[in-house]
């Protein structure tokens, strides 16, 4: 009973003091004298200037809350005391009244300091478009469809989200790269605008074209029945088809007709990949364009896709499944693969058409020149000419329209002046109208008005809301409907925002939100950071990797679509998978042609993010797993708990590759080291719970990778057995991952809170701060029914909130 009473009081702390807000606002100094007795009774013993436990020296910590670092420290102190983490269990702890009095006395000041910062700057600073947002914006402005991110310099930031305005930087190298990307886009738009659609490039390839005339080992082989075949073989660039290349860089649509040969006996399909690239040793980068399974008895089928292809790049089509039999290139040339039962893909037809038609050409033309260009009279050497009229008026209209689109809000003459000025001055120097306009277009697209979201402290104006919504939900600029709602001011109405959200979630662009948010929240964008060791994980391949990513992204999308409970972050009775991934999960019988919802057996360890192969892969390196790294990852990304960096000069713990000691034994010793225990009792439980999963997310009962090395040293070494049982920081025992997931899923509110915070950080370009917590709690409250916190509801209530609609 007493316990409950304390909880109720704790929950009441924020609201108790909300009323004092106004008078506390200018109090940016924490009254250290008032809390000194609490600190000396409970904290100084370990956190003084001598011991500095965990690197925290409270003697040295000032009360100047206008210093962001000082403020953060005190906020951590508040959180640790509130959660009961500090003072630690083994020490004497304050009674509940003492503790509440302390919390209540510092809360208003900590909050007020945050509010004060907000009023000056807003929660987020000027936010630069991310590379993805930049690409989508430029493509939308010119109505083009070529990739642009390749021109930009990858960000090397350490934070979770690329749009975190506090971390973003721009060097002059970046500005130069932006300019190069804009130039490429402009060149493409001009090319499309004047291209004769009847010059569209096309190819119709049949088997004899697909088989290279002087067939090398890597090209498709003649099968003897008139078809072209690519065998499942070892080596790079297999299945490359020289005739799929063009001398013109463009976007192409493909239809390929294929079937399989020598299917596996166990009824599994043959997985086939289509990759694009130059496909040769001096330019080895390939990108996955499409992948699909071929089943026996389904006959020939057509596969369709479109891809951007640079001049000289070509496609390769090949079986890509390392669980299937594979042969050497020599075997391919000798052509005995067929009789030896090696799986292969037969390619019968390839139809290729450049993505170019009247509509595409016209859209690009209007993006650049409005409707001022008209078809030229017969006999004229250009296809289009300018309409007759006042040139200055045309320039004014075109530049003003272009700037309005690019800046995502109306522009006045003062803003336009320098951009118009450069066009007029070029016209005066006898530049052609098209050449002169290009100056303004380039300048507009490196202007900070385009490159940064324009937001002023306080409540956002409707246009800023429109941009915030579209970059959040589409990674793209606002469409006409959002801009209309900005123009009439209705976007300031939460319910109107909600209506747009519902509409926007049905748009194909919403997939960009799903991809970017999961890439960054769950680190999926790091999936290529390490390549699994081919000796230890020989069955890992590109299609498996893409299938893993599809699982997590589709799963998240499904959570939103069905408005599932936040407990599904940790646990569910289904997952999203295709046959390749099902095979990886030892659930081959549940395999489907494409990634889709599959009900899991009752005893399955899968279901929920924690045991998805993608997550297990990004939290491991290429050879080994570390319960520390995985533990920290779960705490920070899923449970939303702050983990301090290890104190300087503490040796790290890594798996013992001699295989003599398990990581558990090592960690047990590590926890005895002073200063280590306080974090490791939090980190180790989730880490241990995941020990049954190897670096590619497959189930393991023994440490085979370390055993392989151990055997080289000692032939008699026995593989160590994985132990995943342990207890949580609260002392709740678990036998393994299933139990652990149940424990995590039970704290649905905690899962929901972390998800809401991550979502807010991504939506607004700034991490959730101390004073934002009340807003987050409000969102959670609105999103729960009978204790179930629903994931789409959280998204909806965030978009409705003032937190979302303020800088």
């Amino acid at each position: 009973m007493k316990f409950r009473f304390i909880l109720a009081l704790l929950a009441a702390v924020p609201s108790l003091f909300a009323a004092d807000e106004v008078q506390e606002q200018d109090g940016l100094t924490l009254d250290l004298e008032a809390i000194d007795s609490f600190l000396s009774a409970n904290c100084y013993e370990c956190h003084d200037d001598l011991v500095k436990e965990g690197g925290l020296d409270l003697f040295d910590l000032s009360g100047d809350l206008s210093d962001p670092d000082v403020l953060t420290h005190w906020q951590h102190v508040y959180d640790r005391v509130k959660s009961g983490e500090m003072p630690p269990k083994e020490k004497e702890r304050p009674d509940s009244i003492e503790k509440l009095t302390f919390l209540a006395s510092v809360y208003p000041q900590l909050r007020a300091a945050d509010v004060y910062q907000d009023e000056a700057n807003g929660r987020s600073l000027a936010r630069r478009l991310t590379h993805k947002e930049f690409e989508n914006s430029v493509k939308e402005i010119f109505k083009i469809n070529i990739p642009l991110q390749g021109y930009l310099i990858p960000n090397a930031t350490a934070t979770v989200f690329q749009n975190d305005s506090y971390e973003q930087q721009v060097s002059h190298y970046d500005v130069e790269a932006y300019l190069a990307a804009v130039d490429a886009a402009l060149a493409n738009a001009e090319q499309l605008a004047f291209q004769d659609p009847s010059a569209q490039l096309s190819k119709r390839l049949v088997a004899k074209d697909i088989i290279h005339r002087n067939t090398g080992r890597r090209e498709p082989q003649a099968l003897g029945d008139g078809s072209a075949v690519v065998w499942s073989a070892n080596g790079p660039f297999i299945g490359r088809i020289p005739k799929t290349s063009f001398s013109k860089t463009s976007v192409y649509r493909y239809r390929i007709q294929v079937d399989g040969i020598n299917f596996p006996k166990d009824g599994r399909p043959i997985w086939v990949s289509v990759t694009a690239g130059r496909q040769q040793a001096d330019a080895p980068i390939q990108r996955m364009v499409s992948f699909f399974p071929l089943y026996e008895n389904e006959g020939r089928k057509w596969i369709e896709f479109e891809t951007f292809l640079e001049a000289g790049e070509r496609l390769a089509i090949r079986p890509e499944d390392r669980t299937l039999q594979r042969v050497s290139l020599a075997a391919v040339v000798n052509n005995w693969a067929k009789d030896k039962g090696v799986p292969g893909v037969r390619i019968h037809r390839i139809d290729i058409d450049e993505q170019l038609d009247q509509g595409i050409s016209q859209a690009a033309r209007e993006a650049l020149y409005g409707r001022y260009l008209i078809p030229a009279p017969k006999g004229h050497k250009q296809r289009f000419v300018w309409k007759k009229g006042d040139r200055r008026a045309v320039v004014h209209d075109l530049v003003s329209r272009f700037a309005t689109t690019a800046f995502r809000r109306p522009v006045d003459n003062e803003v336009l002046a320098p951009y118009l000025g450069i066009v007029f001055s070029r016209l005066d120097q006898d530049y052609s109208l098209m050449d002169a306009l290009r100056y303004a277009y380039r300048a507009i697209l490196v202007s900070p008005r385009f490159m940064f979201l324009q937001e002023e402290p306080g409540a956002l104006d409707p246009y800023a809301i429109a941009s915030r919504m579209s970059y959040f939900l589409w990674s793209s600029p606002p469409d006409d409907k959002l801009l209309l709602a900005a123009a009439d001011g209705s976007l300031t109405d939460p319910e109107i925002r909600f209506e747009h959200l519902s509409r926007m979630m049905k748009d194909p662009r919403f997939q960009d939100f799903v991809t970017v948010f999961t890439d960054e929240w769950l680190d999926l964008d790091e999936i290529d950071f390490t390549s699994p060791d081919v000796n230890d994980y020989p069955k890992f391949d590109e299609i498996l990797k893409h299938s893993m990513l599809e699982e997590t992204r589709s799963y998240f999308r499904y959570q939103l679509k069905k408005n599932l409970s936040a407990s599904t972050i940790a646990r569910s009775d289904f997952t999203m998978m295709n046959e390749r991934l099902a095979h990886h999960y030892q659930l081959t019988k549940l395999g489907k042609r494409s990634t889709q919802k599959v009900k899991l057996p009752a005893d399955s360890v899968r279901g929920g993010f924690l045991t998805q192969a993608s997550v297990l892969k990004v939290t491991a390196d290429g050879s080994h797993t570390s319960p520390i790294l995985r533990g920290i990852w779960i705490l920070e990304r899923i449970l939303g708990k702050h983990v301090s960096s290890p104190p300087d000069e503490v040796p790290a713990v890594e798996p013992d590759i001699r295989g003599a000691k398990t990581i558990r034994e090592q960690l047990a010793m590590h926890r005895d080291v002073k200063g280590c225990a306080s974090c490791h009792y939090k980190i180790d439980p989730p880490g241990f719970a995941l020990e049954n999963f190897d670096p590619v997310g497959a189930w393991r009962t023994h440490y085979w990778a370390t055993h392989r090395v151990a055997k080289q040293i000692n032939k008699k070494a026995k593989p160590l057995i994985v132990e995943a049982h342990y207890q949580t920081e609260d002392g709740i025992p678990f036998a393994g991952i299933r139990d652990y997931k149940d424990i995590v899923a039970a704290d649905e509110e905690g899962l929901a809170r972390n998800y809401a915070k991550k979502l807010t950080a991504y939506a607004t370009g700034a991490p959730v701060r101390f004073k934002d917590r009340e807003a987050i709690e409000k969102i959670l409250e609105l999103s729960s029914t009978d204790g179930t916190y629903r994931m789409r509801s959280i998204l909806e209530n965030l978009v409705r909130s003032d937190l979302f609609a303020s800088k």
């Binding site: 962001p68 670092d69 953060t72 000056a120 700057n121 807003g122 600073l125 000027a126 630069r128 310099i153 990858p154 090397a156 305005s165 506090y166 930087q169 721009v170 060097s171 002059h172 970046d174 500005v175 130039d183 001096d282 080895p284 980068i285 003062e414 320098p418 000025g421 450069i422 290009r438 100056y439 380039r442 300048a443 490196v446 202007s447 900070p448 490159m451 940064f452 002023e456 402290p457 950071f529 390490t530 390549s531 060791d533 390196d621 290429g622 050879s623 080994h624 570390s626 290890p646 300087d648 000069e649 503490v650 040796p651 790290a652 713990v653 890594e654 798996p655 013992d656 590759i657 001699r658």
Partner: protein
């Protein structure tokens, strides 16, 4: 990139190129651009036959095992340590400095940002970096070459090179792309287009600066700071575009070298490192740039060296485990070997006064001493070339009283002719090397 050969032109410096074009046309511009102290430097370099002085930094994110690097005895008669055994043929071309640190630079891996800036790290979120040594040199002297500076990495795009406003310069990672930039001539049409683009680029930067004033009126202080950074970068680009324009019509150096083929496999990082060093040597030989940094990040790749079974980063946390130390030593031996190979290469390039090595300082260092426990003291330091008195093991500090590495930075600054009194925390120059 085997069998790198060169055409008969032994010395392909900027000066050679100028002579071909008529020096009178180009030199006035150079003089106009050159700050006062660079003139002195140029007087000095004229005295030694016109060879420029250059600075190269090779940095490692994970340090080197100090017991394997630092000799046990100091002085010129030091006994070669395990890592230095392979460099004994060029023993007189470099020195090894032990017990050095960057004063007040702590924070383990976070100190990577201060490898060349030596900016004290407060451990605070509001930490702002200052200009790195290479960029400071390039800022004042970089305009004398086609490329002001090269910022490279054998793995990812992280770098220790920071601009004046504390922004990291993202590193280039493709030897092929660097090679193209340095040596592959654009066609006449493309050059013309580039010229137009550059001049357009400059007028665009003008407009942005004009708009900037208008925009900043309505901003909060936080935003103003953010946008200031953007405008500074815009202005810096403008200055660079001006520099490019001046170089545009001068032919790129004519060399005969095999085109490097990028290695995509991240596990082959040492091979990538060596390949990049080869391109860097070409850049120096042709005087395409005088300031370069090459960083090797601390990613956890399982490097393809026989006997290495674990990720590089994981190995760096060896905790004195013998097996791990041995695996790490296999990697580090190759990294130190690559440094030696680079010195030898420069030594083989003849210049008017001695070799390219005599005119090029080559520093290899790290932010970490003992990476296993994230210590930023007793960091590895190999310093070669540049005409200093080498062949020494300088035990300048002690475990308790570390020697400021910034003194070496100041020595390097003076060597390129920038006679500053201090670089960040320096207390003087390294007189033992003079």
């Amino acid at each position: 990139m085997k069998n790198v050969t060169f055409t008969s032109r032994q010395k392909l410096s900027r000066r050679t190129a100028l002579r071909g074009l008529g020096a009178s046309a180009a030199l006035p511009w150079l003089d106009a651009m050159r700050p006062a102290f660079a003139k002195e430097a140029s007087a000095e370099s004229d005295a030694k036959g016109g060879d420029p002085t250059r600075f190269v930094s090779i940095s490692l994110a994970l340090g080197l095992i100090q017991e394997n690097l630092n000799p046990k005895d100091a002085g010129t008669d030091y006994t070669a340590s395990r890592y230095l055994e392979g460099l004994q043929d060029i023993r007189d071309e470099f020195s090894v400095l032990s017990q050095c640190h960057r004063p007040d630079v702590v924070g383990g891996h976070r100190a990577e940002a201060s490898i060349l800036s030596a900016a004290p790290i407060s451990g605070s979120a509001s930490f702002r970096n200052t200009i790195s040594l290479d960029q400071y040199m390039a800022k004042h002297l970089g305009h004398e070459t086609r490329i002001r500076s090269l910022v490279l990495n054998s793995g990812n795009t992280a770098s220790p090179s920071y601009t004046q406003n504390g922004t990291m310069i993202p590193a280039q990672t493709s030897p092929r792309a660097v090679f193209e930039k340095l040596f592959v001539e654009e066609g006449a049409a493309s050059r013309k287009a580039t010229a137009q683009r550059l001049s357009e680029g400059r007028s665009i930067m003008d407009i942005i600066s004009a708009d900037a004033k208008l925009l900043q009126k309505n901003l909060g202080s936080g935003d103003r700071e953010k946008l200031d950074q953007y405008f500074t970068s815009v202005r810096e680009l403008e200055q660079r575009l001006e520099g490019y324009e001046n170089w545009l019509n001068e032919p790129k150096p004519d060399i005969e070298a095999e085109f490097p083929t990028d290695i995509e496999d991240a596990n082959r990082v040492v091979e990538r490192h060596v390949m990049m060093l080869d391109v860097m040597a070409l850049a120096l030989q042709t005087d395409s740039t005088r300031f370069m940094t090459l960083h090797l990040d601390g990613g956890n790749r399982t490097i393809n060296i026989p006997g290495v079974t674990q990720g590089y980063h994981a190995l760096s946390h060896h905790g004195q485990d013998k097996k791990k130390l041995e695996e790490l030593a296999l990697i580090e031996t190759q990294l130190v070997g690559a440094y030696g190979r680079f010195l030898r290469k420069l030594k083989g390039m003849k210049e008017s006064s001695g070799s390219a090595l005599d005119n090029t300082m080559v520093l290899m260092s790290s932010n970490l001493g003992n990476a296993s426990s994230h210590r930023n003291t007793n960091v590895p330091v190999l310093f070669g070339g540049g005409g200093f008195r080498h062949g020494q093991h300088l035990a300048l500090g002690t475990a308790q009283k570390q020697y400021p590495l910034t003194n070496l930075f100041l020595s390097a600054l003076h060597r390129v002719g920038m006679m500053d009194d201090q670089f960040v925390s320096s207390t003087g120059t390294v007189t033992e090397l003079a």
